[in-house]
Assembly symmetry: C2
Homo-oligomer: 550 residues x 2
């Protein structure tokens, strides 16, 4: 009998760029096409997308893409993917709104964004997709029941078991129980918080913390969060209103998202609550709230620019209260802390986790993860969405709930999983690494080696040596030009590069007559590099150009 | 009347490089001379030391240096400082041992390391220093009572209120109470954990967690921690012994420190417990424990090399249990998580915080900080040892204990504080920034601008353009040499640099006759940079060299 193949293309062994392909016969179904933010040792990289070369040549087999929710790590690579692959994209209403904002005109015309709501049954080849509502830090998120010829597969999406969510719609436990009744072949579940014991606090637990901040604030309140955290935006608006404040939005994406979410009915905001950014000075500070992007401290974001005083119209002033209402993405701690310190320097009161409980995670913690496992009681379990350490921990939790170890597959991107109705095997590994996006350079144009080259340049800078020489006599003509960047200060460099000139001259002389120009260049490269190392224990990257004359 | 000046030279507005000067008349006393680890956006920097230019020209007034304990952020810059300043250094026994290991032969001969023990009274000019025992994550740590002509000043050092410390010696609360009786003019206290509510768990709470790990481990146990965490080393040795295991030490500094601490009586370890690294394969895995450095994931450390399989003799194999028993320094999260993931890939079971409580902080949390404030009841309070956000939070705690806001000074490095017996004012600011150490380059040789240059190089790489040209005709002779590094992959670059050649030729032609060589270079720099931006939306750093002929 035909097997069901599941190919994790992203999000397994990392946090971000979630993407998965399910294959049965000559049919492929794709779940999510996300992007990932670069780590701090990936200079110049704008973001990272999944390596989906595996799907090349299978274009005509792909029945569609199903999106679980509208966060960047689930939709962010769609603009790239849809340039190459032409197919319908199924998503809930708010998610479609967020995708549409990201697509350029050509794609907006060409791509079919198909509606899909909890309770729907979407037939895509041999797959029947049954989206069900889940709570997450964005409305309109779904998990997926996917009926296949071999049995029912459940993909959790990103979820938490919030019993008092802001929009009043808890995760659909009844649907999960129904899946259990029908029997679940395999569960693929979110592992992001697998190292967090207990239960993630409810989104509505923030109301008290936010009210307390507003209660104590004497001046303006500036709240920074993610542009896509629509329910957080709702909460801040509600609290602001209850304290008699107006709300201005700063940040292009957040402005767009608020507009779109209001239009689609996902934000319930009276018109007179909204204040334009230009008008904030017309009200006394205690009547003003500003919502802004940049809670990760991104230098070009609103908060990043406010922290260094580089925003064109806004200034943080003593008396302001700044609330960072978002989780710090691992690796961003330094930058975020720097922003906090700079805001304090400007006289603001800064409120952030753990000083005050002004953020809660959107992901299930251990007890919720075990609850999901117990409700579904799947035959097979595959932890997804997390670094290997999260996947391993999630696998341990699954074992604790009674799933036998051999029925759990802990794999990183690219390991093909093959299911029959009573077996799971881990097959060969296809590519599943990083595809870097740097401006117009994508993928093969900016490889991991290029990133390593950039890091080498950063460690000790670069030194260029240019000289003309008489090839037969091995004599340098005129002065060698030695230029260095990023090695040391100008004063130190002036002295060093001047003293490097005789090193160049002597090295060229030693090669007299016998050497080809590229050999002369290599000899000079070695000699000058050694000179720097002797002098300052650093080896800048060398670019040597010999201009042979005569 | 003469005022008491306190000059924070490091550790205020940052975590690390702690250093402070107290001045009364023509007398200076220095407390701690620490170093700091670079952040991830300081490529090539080995470490950072305080800017102590303020002390230049005051050499003959300095009565001595007093060290609170032997961690790098309190002693690490001593080798640099003592090269320039010749003076006695006072420290407890273990601290002296750790300093001695760091000094080169010349300094070991020249510098007088003076004994100082809790209960001693050390007179240094008008200052009388009274060290008292505190618990921290290293034995032999002290806080300091410093009697001055204007009143008693207390410097907390790094401390926690551990009631069940591993060495059986809790922080000396009786001495603090005595200080209170005598009246405390000012308290300078550790703010590192000012954002942590509650009480820091006792060091001995680790015993249960470690025992549980050893109990479950079937193969070898590898414990990574800081080389200077002597009490942690003691705990691991004790637990290992109780489970019938021997202990091998990996890492030069840890080997040195263990040897020194055993010699001085700070590690209680029977000879037959210690195993040499060469002999570990002679015992069955369940009888082996390895203690190693590199819990911060430093690439050249033991754990860093084990994670990528580059250690000359050790390999991590399935069945090994790896314990990371240390706090992750903010900014190192990514690197540490990568190490954890790689160890999992090698089949090890990795135990780390928060998966298991295998580390506790050495710093007081909020309730302990308030306790210290309440025991001492100082007139003035200055939070030290922390980023601005920690200092601000610590100041709030002090206000909660009843210290009036105007008696608290929250300042960053370099702000001179002037005390009389009943006043505190914040004076002018002297330099207190970063002094970078990069190989043999120190301070002025490697400025913040150099670091920014390095970062620019990393973002888009570098491009060198070299061409000979006939100045009068404005004609390039031969082919321009266009070389780029770190911009894109070789295939992309070959194409780009070839297509940049006519850009160079045309630009030179356009300047015909009229332009000086440096103007020609600038024109080519602009043109080629624009070319790259059009082509790939990146601007590499440009180094253009024109060789004018004729």
């Amino acid at each position: 009998m035909e097997k069901l193949q599941v190919v994790p293309l992203g999000g397994l062994g990392e946090v971000g760029k979630n993407m998965m392909a399910l294959e049965y016969g000559r049919n492929v179904l794709i779940v999510d096409v996300g992007m990932m933010f670069p780590e701090s040792d990936m200079p110049g990289v704008d973001y990272i997308i999944p390596d989906y070369r595996y799907l090349k040549g299978k274009e005509d087999r792909i029945r569609g893409v199903v999106i679980t929710h509208g966060h960047e790590d689930h939709i962010g690579a769609l603009p790239h993917f849809l340039q190459e692959f032409n197919m319908p994209v199924y998503a809930t209403k708010l998610t479609r709104g967020l995708i549409e904002v990201k697509l350029n005109r050509d794609l907006q015309k060409r791509v079919k964004l198909q509606p899909m709501e909890p309770g729907d049954t979407v037939r895509l080849g041999p797959f029947t997709v049954e989206p069900y509502h889940v709570c997450h830090s964005i409305p309109d998120a779904v998990g997926l029941g996917i009926d296949t010829p071999l049995g029912l597969v459940v993909h959790s999406g990103d979820y938490k078991m919030d019993h008092t969510p802001v929009d009043g719609r808890p995760s659909d436990i009844a649907k999960l129980a129904e899946f259990n009744q029908r029997g679940v072949l395999a569960l693929f579940a979110d592992s992001t918080n697998a190292d967090q014991p207990g239960t993630t606090p409810s989104e509505s637990s923030l109301n008290a913390a936010l009210a307390d901040v507003f209660h104590q604030a004497k001046g303006r309140v500036i709240v920074a969060t993610f542009a896509s955290l629509i329910s957080r935006i709702q909460q801040v608006m509600d609290v602001a209103r209850s304290f008699g404040r107006k709300v201005a939005i700063a940040g292009t994406t957040m402005v767009k998202n608020v507009k779109m979410a209001r239009r689609l009915g996902y934000l319930n905001v009276p018109d007179d609550l909204i204040l334009s950014l230009q008008d904030i000075n017309r009200l006394p500070p205690h009547q003003v709230t500003i919502m802004a992007t940049g809670a990760q401290g991104e230098p070009r974001s609103i908060m990043g620019r406010l922290a260094i005083g580089r925003h064109p119209s806004l200034r943080v002033v003593p008396g302001d209260t700044v609330v960072l209402s978002s989780h710090t993405i691992p690796g961003n701690e330094e930058v975020v802390h720097r922003v906090i310190n700079r805001l304090f320097q400007k006289g603001a009161n800064v409120v952030y986790h753990p000083i005050a409980p002004v953020h809660v995670s959107g992901h299930a913690s251990q007890e919720e993860q075990k609850m999901l496992l117990n409700i579904l009681r799947p035959k097979f379990f595959v932890p997804i969405h997390g670094e290997l350490r999260h996947l391993k921990q999630h696998a341990l939790l699954a074992q604790e709930t009674g799933i036998p170890r051999q029925n759990i597959a802990v794999v990183e991107n690219g390991h093909i999983l093959r299911f029959s109705s009573d077996s799971l095997e881990v097959g060969e590994r296809i590519p599943g690494g990083y595809v870097f996006v740097d401006g117009a350079l994508v993928g093969d144009a900016v490889s991991p080696q290029v990133i390593l080259d950039r890091e080498s340049l950063a460690v000790a800078g670069v030194c260029s040596v240019v000289f003309s020489y008489n090839r037969r006599q091995g004599a340098v003509i005129g002065e060698p030009r030695v230029t260095a960047r990023g090695l040391a200060t100008a004063e130190v460099l002036d002295d060093l590069t001047e003293r490097a000139q005789p090193v160049v001259r002597n090295t060229v002389q030693a090669t007299r007559g016998s050497a080809a120009p590229d050999e002369v260049e290599r000899a000079v490269e070695r000699a000058v590099s050694n000179f720097f190392y002797e002098q300052v224990q650093s080896r800048p990257e060398m670019i040597v150009v010999a201009v042979p004359l005569g």
